[in-house]
Structure formats: structure tokens, C-alpha cells
């Protein structure tokens, strides 16, 4: 029964995609790369996706570290709020962030005098993606950090290691696989994100147009095969990157078991 439902809901769409790919063929896929606008969107989406994933890697790790190892006023509240990007509808996030970072917004107006625009530029997109991908790294690292036996640190300390050395050579290697996995998920989410980005980006073709929006635009123009082509290329590239990240993560965690 499960298999029946699954096939209906998931396998058919996936297979459908595969067949559509076949329909447009190799030509269709290469054709995608020929259009400037598409290439620009491709480059942009992967570029902002990577940058925001990396930012999330650092900030997310900081949060996981502080939430697990220190106790302070408001810890529980912040811990719960970490899930906010996960539960908040993307459109809401989109309009909220745009308002904050536009020229007249709370943060946007701090930068206006320096002639720095945040909303309607790639920077704005990066900020939106940081918001969206934020919980992934935190939630990936937290459980691993919590379960880390304190004897490892104590052992290193007794052997004479400084706090920094202990962190870098003992604790960090244990956490690295989960950091990778969380960052990978944030990246995957960032590439395909639509709702929160479409407001803040301004969607200027060639400059701030992300791939998902381009797909929709093509659909509205009834250029179905182009849209499909873009989708296929997107999927291939992101699956490859995810695959690589998974490989790295597997290698890193193999030592640990």
C-alpha cells in the first residue's frame, strides 16, 4: 500500500521529469546554456547559494557551540527560535526581509548614506538565503556536540593541550562530518529557494534573477521546454554537488566508527 502511494506521489513526478528530459533531449539541455539570461541566472543561483551556505556554516556552528556549551539567559528561547526559518512561510520571510533591508528599512537605511544597496542586489539574496538555511547547520551539529564525551577534552587537557589545541585537534574533527552535512543541506535549500528570495532580489534579468524565478517566467511565456531544460540542469548540478558533499562527509565519518 505504501509503495502504491509512494509511486503515485513521488515516483511518477520524478519519472516524468526524466521523460521530459528525454523529450527535449541533449540539444535541449545544451540549448539552455546558450541563452545569456539563463547562464547569468545559473551563475547567480549557485554563487549566492554557496556564499550563504558558507556563512551559515560559520554562524550556525557558532550558535550550536554556544547553545550546547554555555548556559545563559534566554538560551531556551533562542534555541527554539532557531527553527523559525523552518516553520515560517517563505513568502512571509520574503516580504519581511525586503522591508528590513530596503533603502528605507531599519537596516537598509544604515547603509544608504554609503550608497550601499542591500535589497534588490545579490547581497539581499544572500541574506535571505542565510535566513532560510540557518537551522540546518545548527540542528546538524547540536546533537553531535551534545553527545561528545567530556572525557575526550579532559584527556587532552591532562596531556597538556591548550584549550585552542583541544578544540582544533580533538573536538573539531568529531564535528566536521555533521558540519558538512548541515552545510550541504543549507546549500541545497538555497539553490531551489523561491518564496523568500523573489521579493528581495528585484528579479533583474542578468543581475538578480534566480533560477527558480526564471523557470516560472519561462512557464508563463509557455516556453515549457526551456523551463524544463533549466530545471534539469539545475537538478543535475545540485545533485552532483550534494553527492560530492556526501562523499566527503562519509569519508570523514568513517574514521569515527
Amino acid at each position: 500500500m505504501t509503495v502504491f502511494y509512494l509511486s503515485l506521489m513521488v515516483v511518477i513526478p520524478l519519472v516524468g521529469l526524466f521523460f521530459s528530459t528525454a523529450k527535449i533531449g541533449w540539444e535541449g539541455i545544451l540549448g539552455v546554456f546558450r541563452e545569456d539570461r539563463i547562464r547569468a541566472a545559473l551563475f547567480l543561483s549557485f554563487y549566492v547559494g554557496s556564499i550563504s551556505a558558507i556563512i551559515n556554516m560559520f554562524v550556525g556552528f557558532l550558535f550550536a557551540w554556544v547553545l550546547v556549551r554555555y548556559d545563559f539567559f534566554g538560551r531556551k528561547i533562542i534555541d527554539t527560535l532557531v527553527d523559525l526559518p523552518f516553520t515560517l512561510p517563505t513568502a512571509v520571510a520574503g516580504i519581511a526581509l525586503t522591508t528590513i533591508y530596503s533603502q528605507k528599512g531599519w537596516i537598509g537605511k544604515l547603509f544608504a548614506p554609503y550608497d550601499i544597496k542591500i535589497a534588490y542586489t545579490p547581497i539581499g539574496i544572500i541574506i535571505a538565503l542565510v535566513f532560510i538555511g540557518f537551522p540546518f547547520v545548527v540542528r546538524a551539529v547540536q546533537p553531535v556536540l551534545e553527545d561528545l564525551p567530556k572525557e575526550l577534552e579532559e584527556g587532552a587537557k591532562c596531556l597538556g593541550a591548550s584549550p585552542f589545541t583541544t578544540f582544533w585537534r580533538v573536538i573539531f574533527p568529531e564535528l566536521w562530518p555533521s558540519i558538512l552535512s548541515g552545510t550541504g543541506m543549507a546549500f541545497a535549500r538555497g539553490i531551489g529557494e523561491y518564496g523568500s528570495v523573489v521579493f528581495i532580489s528585484g528579479n533583474i534579468p542578468g543581475k538578480t534573477e534566480i533560477l527558480p524565478l526564471l523557470i516560472i517566467t519561462k512557464l508563463e511565456q509557455y516556453e515549457y521546454s526551456k523551463a524544463t531544460g533549466i530545471a534539469v540542469v539545475m537538478l543535475i548540478i545540485s545533485f552532483s554537488i550534494m553527492f560530492l558533499i556526501n562523499l566527503a562527509q562519509n569519508r570523514a565519518s568513517r574514521r569515527l566508527t
Binding site: M1, L84, V198, P212
Partner: protein
């Protein structure tokens, strides 16, 4: 004996966390409410009563009311089958269950469009029977079901895995029938995880934007879910109304978080 005192670095880190938490997490919530109440409470209430907004809200509820129970049932059955039975291809099925997560919602919408749209494969089939799926409610429901498919399953699978089947086996050996075991042993054990999965599923179903955007047709009052309605209002520079509608969803989101806290307290008590 010396013991290193991390106090200085500790407070710097905590300070940084406060800073980022405020900017990244708290500011967005604040601004939603600030804008929603920009015209005061009367402005807020007025926006709530906008007919298009209300019908968008109802549509969102309707879609969720169908998608969530179905996916809950699926998630439960899937989790049960996967954790209690041995069969080949388990890993494959797990990957498939996870796939809606990895796919961009827009692409998901695109696929359904390709299948059910007038020019899609089943298009002519659909026309024969005069079933309009795309740009209509059923399309929204199907897209939402796809997107939220994994949630309940992902909550239940690790939970049921770690619980092990001994209790159920004990029940069966003592003579309980399958349904009795289900009702009295299995469900009580997973109830908190199940509840959390349902809540997440619901939050995502109500908030979904990308996939429904492709399939919706954007006809106000008819095929606009609440998130889509928000987009429309915002693009018309109708910011108070847009943010008012948004505030409803923010409430939902915060409610989800509150339920999570309560659930965690209960899980720990077990």
C-alpha cells in the same frame, strides 16, 4: 592546579549569538507586526476582513486539511513498514521519501504542470473528463502533498527505529490483535513524535509558496492561497494588508514553535 578560565571568550561568543539571533531571527518577526499595525489596530482588523484575504485563508486551510491527514497516514504506514519489516530496497525507498526535500518547490510545481497541464501527458486525458487540475484547487492540493510528504515519515522513522518492536511483540504474544496493538501500544508510544510531525507538516503545507505559485493561476478569491495572496498584495504596494495576512502566518509559525517546546518537555518526561 590550574584550570583554564574561558570566561572572556565565552561572553564574546554569547554576545555574538545575541546579536545574530536578533538580526536574523527576531527582526523579521518584529517588522511583520510593525507593518501590519502601521495603520493602527483598526487598519489591522479591516485588512483581516478583506474578502480576498479571507477566501485565501480558507483555501489555505482547505488544502492543508486534505494534504496533512493523507500525508500523516502515509507517514505512519511508511514508518511502520520500514522499521518493522525487512525487504529489499529499503535505502532506495528512504531516499525517495526524502526527495521532495531536495527538489526545489518550483521544480516540483513544474513537474506537476508538465504532467497534468493541458499540454502535458495526462492533459488530453484530463480534458476528456473535464477535470481541471492545474490552475485549480486540485493542483494545489497535489503539489502540497508532494512537498510535505516527508515530514511525518521523517519524524516517525527514527523514533520507531529506536523504540524497537519488543513492546509490540510482547503485546501480540499476550494475545492482542493487530488493531489492539496499534491502538494501545504503538500509537501511545509515538504520539509525541507523531504530533510534532503533523504540526511541521501543517506549517509547511500552509506556508508553501513556490510549488503552488506555478500551479495556481493566481486568480484572486479562487485559486490564491494565503501566501500567494500576500504576494499579490505586496506587489500592489498594499503593504498593510500584505503584512496583516502575513501576521496570521507568523502566528501559526510561532504556535508551531510553542508546541515544539511543550512536546520536548513531554518527551523528556518519558
Amino acid at each position: 592546579m590550574n584550570r583554564y578560565s574561558p570566561n572572556f571568550t565565552k561572553w564574546i561568543f554569547i554576545g555574538l549569538v545575541y546579536f545574530f539571533a536578533f538580526i536574523i531571527l527576531i527582526l523579521p518577526i518584529l517588522i511583520v507586526f510593525q507593518e501590519a499595525f502601521a495603520k493602527g489596530i483598526s487598519g489591522y482588523l479591516e485588512s483581516l476582513q478583506e474578502p480576498d484575504t479571507i477566501s485565501a485563508f480558507l483555501l489555505t486551510l482547505k488544502v492543508a486539511a486534505i494534504a496533512v491527514p493523507i500525508n500523516t497516514l502515509f507517514g505512519f504506514v511508511a514508518a511502520f513498514t520500514i522499521t518493522r519489516f525487512q525487504f529489499p530496497g529499503k535505502n532506495f525507498i528512504l531516499t525517495i521519501i526524502d526527495s521532495p526535500f531536495a527538489v526545489s518547490p518550483v521544480i516540483a510545481g513544474l513537474i506537476f504542470l508538465l504532467i497534468f497541464g493541458r499540454q502535458g501527458w495526462m492533459g488530453s486525458f484530463m480534458e476528456q473528463w473535464d477535470i481541471k487540475v492545474v490552475f485549480n484547487t486540485p493542483g494545489l492540493i497535489i503539489a502540497t502533498m508532494f512537498i510535505t510528504l516527508p515530514f511525518v515519515a521523517r519524524e516517525l522513522i527514527p523514533l520507531m527505529q529506536s523504540q524497537g518492536k519488543e513492546e509490540e511483540e510482547a503485546g501480540i504474544l499476550l494475545g492482542a490483535s493487530f488493531f489492539q496493538t496499534l491502538k494501545k501500544i504503538i500509537i501511545p508510544n509515538v504520539k509525541w513524535g507523531l504530533l510534532y510531525g503533523i504540526i511541521l507538516c501543517n506549517a509547511r503545507a500552509m506556508g508553501e509558496f513556490g510549488a503552488v505559485s506555478v500551479l495556481s493561476g493566481h486568480i484572486r478569491g479562487q485559486t490564491n492561497t494565503l501566501p500567494l495572496q500576500i504576494e499579490v498584495l505586496y506587489n500592489e504596494y498594499n503593504s498593510v494588508q500584505a503584512f496583516t495576512a502575513a501576521s496570521l502566518l507568523v502566528f501559526l509559525s510561532l504556535l508551531t514553535l510553542v508546541v515544539k517546546i511543550i512536546l520536548e518537555k513531554n518527551i523528556h518526561r518519558k
